[in-house]
Structures are given as structure tokens and as C-alpha cells.
Symmetry: C2
DNA sequence: TTTCTTTCTTACCATACATCAATGCATATC
DNA sequence: GATATGCATTGATGTATGGTAAGAAAGAAA
């Protein structure tokens, strides 16, 4: 297994040297899952972060009526995890499954400790990830509080054009907090006003 | 100024000793603002985190139409900040103002560096704050995606009973993403089914 | 007290979005 | 080829919530 995305990520984003990466090579554990397979289910403790080497994951919750609320998608070079579950060692209330056949690198606390030991810069990178995450969540909340389905959809395809093309429409609807039917109508209205995303 | 809440917080939550707190005493800067005064406005870089010693703050954004979307309230012992703005040194898109006359402790990067130096345990505490923050944001997004105004309101008064009693209803409405009128109707319906929060 | 201001409520109507049900249209399976 | 399955669209209708406007209630100020 090559895992080139993962290694490039560490070289460029985390500023590790090739030599440093070689030192942790034996700790890199990857896993391949089929479409529909789960990496995390409600009730489990989420002891890994999943780096998407290839493929597409979704992170979602079930509400009381059993409806899926998609909180996040993750394509190549994204990391997804219920960090809270890992951090507080509490059962997760979320699910992670694969929308496409997907290869992930499984990052656990051991791995993080080791990398931090080799290069303390990794800690800085990790914090940047958290900060970015919070920012995107703030934006998400703002949009959900105030914006129409149309506005939210336009923001989505602008922010995640790659995801837009790879996931079924009903999942985008779930991410936006509307029904698939409503999203279909939003798209129809946009088409009528001659909107071209690409 | 006594700042007992702040010091107790550091003693208990951050596990600093009295001696260690004495060492940073000269770095503790507090500020008192009147009701309606701002601690942060859109366009400014948010170089502080604000620990609420006494009073009540709100953290909000304005949408395109000028409507306030309240993202967070902060009562005694809470910390509020646009950490993203501080971290990336970019102008904030948010506002922080006082709902009650409020005394805050202004925490800047210098302060954080100094405390971390004195007691590395502070870093752990800081990360716990971030993790908790992300968890609460996830929950918020889940509720906004799937739950009715009534459900969101019930969750709010359960999660923040103290805030519920101290802020005007139209601000709770703004936090929930509904109009004050709608919230009033939700409350009426709850009263009719003989709901007692306390 | 009286007045002024802000907040909350209520009534009426409008609208965005949900729900239900039918149809179309691919792609997969037999 | 026929048929099943999953997804997108459409129409009819329902419902939750929004918008407007007015009045009631509660504080704040005079």
C-alpha cells in the first residue's frame, strides 16, 4: 500500500521530513472498507481519527425518529473522527460509514504521541485543525440559524464542489437539514433562473 | 478587585497552586463593561479570550439582512472568544457584547504562554475546553438539522436554565433560530399542556 | 404617580418547507 | 430482453414557522 496522500500530507502540512516519516512508517495502519461499511457506530468509543487516503466517508447522527443528520463528509486528505468520544473516553452518539469504497489511515493516540515526540511541530498542526474545525462549525450554525434552504445549498456547492458531485442528492439534503424533495425544488428554481455552478 | 471566580477556576479546573497563581497575578487584567457595550466587533482581530467573572455576555453574527444570530451566551465562569480570529490573526466576523453589566478577565496569548510555562497542565486544560466546545457545537448542529422549535427550546432551558432566566426571550429566539413570535407560541403551547420547567 | 420604552403576546395571513403519493429514469440483476 | 432497485422529480396538500400589526404587560425614567 502506497498511502501517498497520507505521506504527502505529513510532509507538507505537518512539516515532517522524509526521515521522520520513515521512523513512524511501522505505526501507520490502513484499512479498506466497502461502500456502506461502518468505521464507527453509536455506543462505541471512537479511538481513531480516520484520514481518508482514497474514497468518501460520512459522519452522521440519528435523531429520535431515526432520521439521519449528516454532520460532515470527508473526501481525500480529510480527517474525520468523534474526537470528543476519544478524548473523554465516552461512547459515541455518531456513525461513520463509507459512501464509496474507501481506504483510511487509522490514527490513534499512540500514533499521535509518537509523532509529537519525533516532531513537536505536529502539536501545532493538530491545534490548527481543531481551530479550523470550530470555525467551520460556527459558520454552519450561523447558516442554519438564519439562511434559507437555497442559500445553504449555494454555500454548500461553493464550499464543497467535489463532494457535491460524488454524493447522492438526498445526502446533501440531509446535510442541509431539508428533505430530498425540497432540495430538488430548490435546484429546479435555480435552473429556472439560469444558475450555473460550474 | 477580587476576581474570586477567576482564581477559583484556576485553582480547581486548571489545577494550579495558590503559589502559581500568585506568580501570574500581575498579568491578570480585568475590565468592566456596561450593558450594551462591546468587547468585540466585526472587523477587529479578537486578541483576547474573555472569562466572565460576573455578568452575562452574548456572542453573535449578523447575516446579510442584518439579523443577529446568537451563537453563544456566557455567564459566570464561562470563557468566550473568537478563537479562530485570534489563532489565524484574521478580522472577526462576530460581535461580543454585554447583556448585563459585566466584569471579564482578559486572557491574551502572553498570559496563556506564561501560565503554560509555569504549569504545563494548563495546556491539557485548554485542549479539554476546545474538545468540549466542539462537542457542544455538534449537538447544536444536530438539533438545528432535525429538531422542531419546541424540541430545541426544551433542550435549551434544560441545558442552560440559568441563562433562560437572565436573557430576554427574543435573544433565546435568536439563539434557537426562530422569531420571538414563534417562541412565544411554543411557550404558550407548552403552558397549555401544563409543562413546568422548574 | 405618569409617561416612555422595551418586551411579550395575540390575531390574521403569507410562505417555506414537509409529507404523501405517483411517476420517471437510470443502473443493476435475473 | 424483462424486472427490480435506488434515486430524482413532480403535484397536491398539510403544517410549522415567518411577517405584520396591534395591543398588553412589565420595567425604566421622569
Amino acid at each position: 500500500m502506497e498511502l501517498n496522500n497520507f505521506k504527502t500530507y505529513f510532509l507538507e502540512k505537518c512539516e515532517l521530513s522524509r526521515d521522520e516519516i520513515a521512523q513512524i512508517d511501522h505505526l501507520i495502519i490502513s484499512k479498506t472498507v466497502e461502500k456502506g461499511e461502518f468505521l464507527l457506530k453509536e455506543g462505541e468509543i471512537c479511538n481513531h481519527s480516520f484520514f481518508v487516503e482514497k474514497g468518501l466517508l460520512r459522519f452522521y447522527a440519528l435523531n429520535e425518529e431515526g432520521k439521519e443528520n449528516i454532520l460532515q463528509f470527508a473526501t481525500e486528505n480529510w480527517i474525520v473522527s468523534d474526537r470528543g468520544s476519544a478524548y473523554f473516553q465516552q461512547p459515541s452518539t455518531y456513525y461513520i460509514d463509507a459512501i464509496e469504497p474507501t481506504t483510511v489511515v487509522m490514527i490513534n493516540q499512540d500514533f499521535i504521541n509518537k509523532v509529537t515526540e519525533i516532531n513537536p511541530n505536529f502539536r501545532v498542526h493538530n491545534e490548527r485543525l481543531l481551530q479550523n474545525h470550530i470555525r467551520s462549525l460556527y459558520k454552519r450554525v450561523s447558516l442554519l440559524l438564519g439562511a434559507s434552504a437555497k442559500t445553504r445549498y449555494l454555500d454548500f456547492i461553493k464550499t464543497y464542489p467535489d463532494v457535491t458531485l460524488r454524493v447522492p442528492q438526498w445526502m446533501i439534503a440531509s446535510y442541509l437539514g431539508v428533505t430530498p424533495e425540497s432540495l430538488s425544488r430548490v435546484r429546479k428554481a435555480l435552473a429556472k433562473e439560469n444558475f450555473k455552478p460550474y
